[in-house]
Structures are given as C-alpha cells and as structure tokens.
C-alpha cells in the first residue's frame, strides 16, 4: 500500500523557488530518509508534506486521499510531524505537553480518559523520559526537549510520521535510541516514517530508501547502497567524500575526506 505519494510537487517561499518537480512514493511501513546539503529544502519538503505550507504546483496524496481534502483534525489522526528545533516547549509539565498529542482523538473540550493516559505513559516510556514527566518542559536541555517533542508526536498515534532531524543535538546514546525507536516503529508496528537526516551514516543505517535532494530537485532515489556512491556524494556536496563498505552490514560508511597535513608544531604527532 502506498502511504504517501508526491506528484510533480514544487515548493517556494514567497517568489523564491526551493524545490520543483518532486515525485516519489512511500510505501506503508517504510522508512524513507531525505538527505542532501544544508539549505537544499529537506525541511521545506517535510513541512509541505505536513500540510504546513501549500505546494506551488503538484499534488500530494496521503493514503490515496488528497492531502488538502480532509479536516485538520482528520489529518492529525493519520499524520504527525516533529519539527527540527524541538522548541515547542511551553511553561507546563512534560506530561501536559505530551498529552496535547491526544487532541486529535479527544477533541479540544474533553479531559483525557484512561486510554489516553495509557498512550501518554507509553509515549513517555518509548522515548525514555518517564522520569521527567513532572518537570517543567521549558527547563530541560535541548536534547530532552527534542525527546519531549517526539513523545508528543507518538501520543498522536498517527500511522505516518514526519521527523525533521530527530537526532540533531542528541548524544550518541540518544541518537542510537531514537534510531532504534524509528526502526522498531516502522518494522514492528507498521508505521511509515519519512525522516530528514543530515548525518548520512544514520540515513544509511536506518532507512529502507533514501531521497537525495540537490539543486532544487531529486538527484537520486533508492537504497543507501545505490544512492550513496563516492562520485555522486562528492559531486553533490562539492567536496571529496570517502564511501566505504561496512565490515558486517550491507550499508555504506561515509567519511569526509579531510586533507590531513603534516603538523608544523615541533614534536606533535611524533610522540611514539
């Protein structure tokens, strides 16, 4: 089943064109990573898919239905979006913030019932912030705020997730946990995940397919091994990039090909 389908979509801010002729499909239960250089339009594309901005031209379908057809609330039950900044905190507790994710199901005037509370508890647990539940959401670290944001998104119980740089500002432990969670949500619970990642290794590791954006359009689309070749990545990013094979997994490993120079400082590097 096709979860998301984009047909010749073009996006622009005011009159400035950001992306054009974007067409691809995302299967239900699939993880698709959007990759590409800074400023290429990954966030713009995710915001357009989240119905936060209108495409200039083209059509977007969510589970076969025009994205702009249903009510905002109907969309929110199927589609959840976590922004890049994660700065959606307000002066309330973590639990109250996450509970707002239940709004598409409960409406705006009824208090949470037991089932909602269970979903909130599960979401807090899934991103590992149960112990923060009574804390003020504004007084958390950047990484904690990002996880609160993700828990709120999970509380929406949508079948399609749009995640904008969910691992940015997190340390390796939480990067790994978030990527594990994304993988589990898609491959065990059948959720569809479209995620933008600037870290190509993370994209290679977790995504079923990657969409490489470059110069206002799609440069390549396919599995990480197909898309992430040394020649293509070096050309797209404009710097020499090393692509190697992972010793045990069938994914490419990407390294910046830094031009190392001999140190001019006396003795440095010659300690041995």
């Amino acid at each position: 089943m096709i979860a998301f389908s984009l047909d010749k979509v073009a996006c622009a801010y005011d009159q400035r064109s950001v992306l054009s002729d974007i067409s691809f499909e995302v299967n239900a239960g699939e993880i698709v990573a959007l990759i590409g250089p800074n400023g290429v339009g990954k966030t713009t594309l995710l915001r357009t898919m989240a119905r936060l901005m209108h495409p200039v031209t083209g059509k977007i379908y969510l589970m076969g239905q025009d994205l702009w057809q249903p009510s905002q609330r109907e969309i929110a039950r199927k589609l959840a979006y976590a922004s890049q900044s994660g700065d959606e905190s307000w002066d309330a507790t973590v639990e109250q913030t996450v509970a707002l994710g239940r709004a598409p199901h409960r409406g705006w005037f009824l208090p949470l019932n037991e089932q909602d509370q269970e979903v909130v508890n599960k979401s807090l647990e899934q991103v590992g912030i149960t112990e923060l539940r009574k804390r003020n959401a504004t007084r958390l670290s950047g990484g904690e705020k990002k996880r609160v944001n993700l828990a709120r998104v999970l509380a929406q119980e949508a079948s399609v997730l749009l995640l904008d740089e969910p691992t940015a500002h997190l340390d390796l432990k939480y990067q790994t946990e978030i990527l594990n969670l994304v993988h589990r949500l898609a491959h065990q619970e059948g959720m569809t995940v479209i995620v933008s990642l600037h870290d190509l290794n993370q994209a290679a590791m977790v995504a079923d397919r990657v969409v490489l954006l470059h110069k206002g359009g799609i440069n390549a689309i396919g599995t990480a091994a197909e898309v992430m070749t040394q020649e293509r990545l070096s050309a797209v990013y404009g710097v020499p990039i090393l692509v190697m094979k992972h010793s045990s997994l069938a994914v490419p490993v990407i390294l910046p090909n830094v031009q190392l120079v001999d140190s001019a400082v006396n003795g440095a590097g010659n300690d041995a």
Binding site: Q72, R77, T97
Partner: protein
Amino acid sequence: MSRQRFIFWIVILSLLLISTLVISLGIGAVFIPPERVVDIITNPSQADLDPAEISIVRDLRLPRAFLAALVGAGLAIAGAAFQALFRNPLADPYVIGASSGASLGATIAITFGLTWNFAGFGPIQLAAFVGALSTVFLVYTIAGGNVKAGVISLLLAGTAISTVLSSVTSLFMLMNRESTHEIFSWLMGSFNGRSWPQLTVSLPYLVIGMAILWFASRPLDALSLGEDTAQTIGLSIGKTRGVVVAAASLITAAAVASSGVIGFVGLVAPHIARILFGASHHRLIPASAVLGGLLTLLADDLARTLMAPFELPVGLITSLIGGIFFLYLIRTRQRSPRGGL
C-alpha cells in the same frame, strides 16, 4: 500541583477576594464596619440600619467594587489569552490596538462633546467601545487573517496602528487644551462615579468573552506550543485565532469603555497565576481572573483612599504597583535556582 490542591488554593483566593470586597464596601469618606456591610447586603430591611449607609453601600460602592473586580478579571484573562496567542509573556490586552482605538474614540467624544447614547452606553463609553473594536478589526483585517504570515504580523500591525492612533489622540489634546484634563484622566483609568448602569452594560460582554476564553483553554494550550505544532495536532489556526482575538477584544473593549485604560493588570495577574498554578490554561484562566479581580479591587481601594478626598486614577496605581512588583519578580526569579521568569 494536584487537582485538590489547585481547588483549595482557588477557594482560598476567592475567599480573599470576597473579604476584600466586603472591606472595600466599608472604606471611604464614610467608614462602615464590615459586619454592618454584610448586614446591609444580606438583610437591608433590618430596622436599625441607616438608610444613608444602605444607599452608600448598595448604590455607590457595591456596583463600583463589582465593576473593578470584573474588569480586573476580564483584563487578566484577555492578557493570558494574548500571551498564549503571541507566545510572549509581555503581551497585554492592549497589544493589538484596543487601548489606542478606545482612547481616540473617547477623545473624539470629549473634544466634540458628543451626546449619542446606544444600548446603555453613554457617549464616551460608546465611542471608546466602538473605537477599540474597530481598531482591532482593522488590525486583524490587515494582518490577522493571513495564517501563512504568522501571528507576528498581527503584533506588528497592532503596534503600527496604535502608534498612528496615539499620535492622532495627542493632536486632538494639543488642539483642544480645555478638554485635555478630562481626556487625560480618562486615559489613566478610573472607576470614579461608576455605578449599576456601567456595570450592567459591560457585564454581558465581559462575561461572554471570559466564558469563551475559558472554553478555549486547550486550544490556547496548543497555541502555546507555536502555531505550526498546534496545526499539526489538529487545530484550525485561522478559526482559533479569530475566536481568541474576538473574545479577548470584546472583554478589553468593554473594560476600557467602562473604566478607561487600566494598565499592567493584564500582564501581572496571569504572570503570578502562572508562577502559582502553571501554564495550563484550564487552571491559568480562572486563577488569573481571581487574581486580576483582587489586584484591581485593591488598587481601586488605594486610588480612592490614599489622597482622600482627592481620588487618584486607578490606572496610575496599577501601573505604579504593577511595575514595581514586576521588577521585584524579575529580580527574585533571576536569583532563584530555577532561573528565568
């Protein structure tokens, strides 16, 4: 804070408000002890009560105190709503031009000696009410309906139009020096001489506006996360923004029309409520209302007793005390381990 604790504190604050109300009814040029005030309110037919005192309490002080508490409550709720809408703790009920529109309306009514009456409003009240609502409508038409442009355009248009209208008001004051004092005292806000007619005229607008905003508690919670996030959890931004602006402006217009521009209550009351009860609007709105009512009532008591028989404008008291209290809050909160405001 648990639900029981919240209710306990709201009851305590409400009792404090009621006691302040009873004391307010007793103080002034003629002092009436609280127990006699209670007698006059609950059982005025008692033979030993002085008819003059009954009249002072029931015709003069009671409607004035009610109006002060109600206007304070309304301004506090409107402030809380605008703070959520703009995600800015410095937003107040006048942020999108209600006070400048009301001031210009009142100034025109005073300068030209208008004598129109409509729906129970006198000429100044009517002009202020219409001025406030039409300014907000203008600001909203220019900027507010454009969801894509974001809420910030509303703030900018409000500031720009307020500046223009304030200049026009100043021009009227300069050109017409004999009315300057009257205009100026109106601009400073006062409950002096307000009685049942002003209360009954403003009451429906204040109560309806406050009820709508309390009803919109959860959408206001969602807006506190930012409009993008609110939208992705299913909130219709355009509709919600329209309803919040309309309800908060109705309150502000009714408050300004009945008692002039009273500053700082709409800023300080929600701020204290947030510190005490958190930012969830289901609690913040009633708590702000009780605190706003209490603060405005106390300010009015000070306004009419500090320099008696001369009465100070209540807006002067709220701004003076509110401003100093705000500075105190900033200082103490900076030093607290939780930091920030």
